[in-house]
Amino acid sequence: MTPGAAEGPVAVITGAASGIGASCAGLMRRSGWRTAGIDLNPSDTDLPAQADVSDRAAAAGAIDQVAERFGRVDLLVTAAGYYEEGIDVADITVAQWDRMLAVILGGTVNCCAAVLPHMLSRGEGSIVAISSELALAGSATDLHYVAAKGAVLGLVKSLAMEVAETAIRVNAVAPGPTDTPLLAADSLWRKPDYLATLPLGRLVAPEEIAHAVYYLATEGSMYCGEVLSPNAGAVI
């Protein structure tokens, strides 16, 4: 573990053990923030909590623990999720659908609900939900994932309006296909034929998503329900 800051703003990052979440945690930490990770696996953060965000009580317990330890929560980044592709819509099972919705949408709702009282008590804070470019444009063979990520956008826009008159900001980052462990080695999104359709011709780097999250968290007070999409040109 790398040492973190002794004081400074506090970020809670779900899915912090890998991929986009880990990139966000790393950037916040290098920028002087104290970080807490919520993930099924241990994360390289100042307070690594192992919890399943789809479990409301577990998510709330983890976030309350962060608030108790650090005395404040300035930022929530909801990056916890997983991906399944290559499934025809008719073949998505009820269990697959329910689990996807529970983790991506439920996890976001659970963590927002847990963190908001802490932010409301201080009158400020920032929530950045990680959605997906697929939720903007639609996709085939991953309908349950896309539906869940789309629902996150509805949640973000509505919650942003609900707390608009406070100094709490709620926004989304909708990454394009990003080079993380979520994309299997044989993923459609890694194939040269697909990449050639992108104006930038490459996958997005997780650090580029972290950069967008950092910007919204530090200089984004005028964004309200924004969907910022670093996507290499996948959706323009």
Binding site: M161, L200, E219, M222, C224, E226, P230, A232, G233
Partner: protein
């Protein structure tokens, strides 16, 4: 952020900001300079403010009317010769006139289109060869919330700003493969000198004007020029290399409520 356009040994990257004499263009020029750019600054004339600003941005003053077809090439040439090729263009200069649609004079309509849309078309054309030669560039277009959702009595302005959004998307697709990233920003109410003009027009005080605008903004807060400059700085930063053809809307939710 410890992200600068170049290390201490690297030559400073060059930005060109149009409409920089005041307001968000002025704040943007100063922000980019703080982030390490040498900034060439343009406005329609130089009453001393541009030269003063250029002194603070390590750049040059390039006063010109961007609706003049000679302006873009002249600015690109002057910046290229004195500072280096323009790597970041902030297309910000704008003209606005309010009037009911049926009362709008054709020359009012065309003046706003000529400056806001065609003017930037020409400036962009002028900086592309230099960006192409370097294999990278950032074109940051200041559109408007009114270009997203429209506004009564501002049809020409809204049309010109909506045109800039389409220009952003087209250029994003066309120039992206060459490493040139085009994005837009759609602000709404900003706390600039224009508010004083608006207040005088409405026959109310500046504070009353601010309050009238705040009531139209979900976050009940006017954007500062620095907020918009920060959006420009984000789009100009190395870490934003996957953002292309997007329209950032740091307008406090104005465009979320009425779109």
């Amino acid at each position: 952020m410890p992200e600068q356009p170049g290390g201490s040994d690297a030559p400073r990257q060059v930005a060109l900001v149009t409409g920089a004499a005041q307001g968000l263009g002025h704040a943007t020029a100063l922000r980019l300079a703080a982030d390490g750019f040498a900034v060439a600054v343009n406005d329609i004339t130089d009453d001393g403010r541009l030269t003063e600003l250029a002194g603070r941005t390590g750049g040059i003053a390039v006063p010109a009317d961007i609706s003049d077809p000679a302006a873009g090439p002249a600015m690109a040439e002057a910046a290229g010769r004195q500072l280096g090729p323009v790597q970041v263009l902030v297309a910000n200069a704008a003209a606005m006139a309010m009037s009911p649609f049926l009362e709008a004079k054709p020359d009012e309509w065309w003046h706003q289109i000529d400056v806001n849309l065609s003017g930037h078309f020409r400036v962009i054309q002028a900086v592309i060869p230099g960006m192409r030669a370097q294999g990278h560039g950032r074109i940051i277009i200041i559109s408007s919330g009114w270009g997203v959702i429209g506004h009564p009595n501002a049809t020409a302005y809204a049309a010109s700003k909506a045109g800039l959004i389409a220009l952003t998307k087209g250029l994003g697709r066309e120039l992206g493969p060459q490493g040139i990233l085009t994005n837009a920003i759609a602000p709404s109410f900003i706390d600039t000198e224009q508010l004083r003009v608006d207040a005088d027009d409405a026959g109310i005080t500046l504070d009353e004007m601010r309050q009238r605008y705040r009531e139209q903004i979900p976050v009940r807060q006017l954007a500062s020029p620095a907020d918009i400059a920060a959006a420009v700085a984000f789009l100009a930063a190395p870490g934003s290399g996957a953002v292309i053809g997007q329209v950032l809307q740091p307008n406090g939710g104005v465009t979320r409520t009425r779109a």
